[in-house]
């Protein structure tokens, strides 16, 4: 059976895959192109189609997830606009660095190695922090705009950055103040890495907003998504000019991820981040391993390693989205049990 000239099985596969990615995207504000592009490559799509369709999909999903986070009061528009400005400048400089490496004929190797180390490094850091806090030390997901954030809940590096009182100072959601220049510096640095590695950068920006600026995690996620709406939209337009975006991939993926993003965003209000942070770190680590495996497969010309890489990525996505769903349902059940006990008393 076919719909719009595409097999129903393929459409169902994309819808299911989209649901999985949507949960991760809605919950963490990352994981779109990082998961979709390798999957499309292994499915036999050309690299430009895989990258362009992945980007268009990320654009659509980020629109939905941002709207949902906006409803929950988890988007800081002021911070988002500043991050867009700093990131755009950083991406331009990063691209210049990448072009210089291309002239030297070393871009592919350097970028792959940097990608693996960065992904692995952030994964190790997040996992270590999560284990150090023993699963219960994370910030609450519910954000009260007027409430001051307890210093103990802000990472040390962020406290240091917040202590630099270079005017003008910006008041951000969560009730704390950071220098405008520090925000632009962090945005520029994340944009630099993003442009250099040629990735969307959600996995860099979201931890950077939390660990470097001290933005509460849900606001970091919502604000990151708000920024992806713009970067994803512009990127999709540029790729679409050369006809690289395939709507038969994007439309079904988006219909699945729209539901997943809603579930993921809703789960941020239920699940204690400490329970999940360790899975997030592990997913990044597995992502780094998957990229390394694919790269080694290319160097040693072993095509099956592409499939191994995909299995690792899909397994990691399934594991983490399953953990998010399980934790959300467990919280709902605990909440219900608590109410029942209270009613019985």
């Amino acid at each position: 059976m076919e719909l719009f000239g595409v097999s129903a099985t393929l459409i169902a596969t994309f819808v299911g895959f989209g649901l999985l990615i949507g949960i991760l995207f809605g919950f963490f504000g990352m994981g779109g192109s990082f998961l979709v592009t390798p999957a499309l490559l292994v499915m036999g799509y050309e690299s430009t189609t895989a990258v362009a369709s992945g980007l268009a999909f990320v654009f659509g999903t980020s629109v939905i997830a941002t709207l949902k986070h906006r409803d929950l009061g988890q988007v800081d528009y002021k911070l988002g606009v500043l991050m867009i400005a700093g990131t755009t400048a950083g991406i331009e400089v990063g691209k210049i660095g990448l072009e210089a490496l291309e002239h030297m004929g070393r871009a592919d190797t350097v970028v792959s190695v940097a990608y693996v180390f960065l992904l692995g490094g952030i994964g190790l850091f997040v996992t270590r922090e999560a284990l150090k806090s023993d699963g219960g030390g994370g910030l609450e997901h519910d954000v009260d705009e007027d409430a001051d954030v307890d210093d103990a809940e802000i990472p040390e590096v962020a406290q240091k950055i917040q202590s630099y009182r270079i005017p003008p100072m910006m008041e951000l959601r969560g009730g704390f103040r950071v220098s405008l220049w520090m925000i632009l510096l962090v945005a520029f640095a994340t944009g630099l890495l993003s442009g250099f590695l040629g990735v969307g950068g959600g996995f860099i920006r979201m931890p950077a907003l939390f660990y470097l600026i001290g933005v509460p995690v849900p606001v970091a996620v919502g604000t990151d998504l708000f920024e992806i709406v713009f970067s994803g939209g512009i990127g999709s337009f540029l790729y679409a000019q050369s006809g690289a975006v395939d709507l038969s991939i994007v439309v079904p993926l988006l219909s699945g991820s729209a539901l997943g993003a809603r579930l993921g965003a809703a789960a941020t209000s239920l699940v204690d981040e400490g329970d999940i942070k360790v899975y997030f770190g592990v997913m990044l680590l597995l992502g780094a391993i998957a990229v390394a495996v694919r790269k080694l497969g290319g160097v040693f010309e072993i095509p099956v390693m592409d499939t191994v890489s995909l299995v690792i990525i899909l397994g990691a996505a399934l594991l983490v989205s399953g953990a998010v769903t399980y934790s959300a349902i467990r919280e709902l059940r605990d909440e219900a049990d608590g109410r029942t006990v209270a009613a019985d008393v």
């Binding site: 719009f4 000239g5 268009a56 654009f59 659509g60 999903t61 629109v63 939905i64 709207l67 949902k68 939209g233 999709s236 337009f237 540029l238 679409a240 000019q241 050369s242 006809g243 975006v245 709507l247 038969s248 994007v250 439309v251 988006l254 219909s255 729209a258 539901l259 809603r262 349902i329 709902l332 059940r333 909440e335 219900a336 109410r339 029942t340 209270a342 009613a343 019985d344």
Partner: protein, 70 residues
Amino acid sequence: MFGIETLGPNAQAAALVGIVLAEAVVLYVVYGWLESTFGPSVTRVLQGRCAVMDLVFGRCSAAENGGARQ
């Protein structure tokens, strides 16, 4: 797909981004309606206060006391 192939590169790119944006907004509204309509019942099923079949046959509406046992 969607008959935009006949347009020029810029118009086609703009149409494509517009289609993705429109799909995203439509899905947001439709899933939002589904969530507000069926969300409370599905939540009660997930909480274990209601059976799946009760949800299917529309017998899973929220009680005034939140469904707690009397």
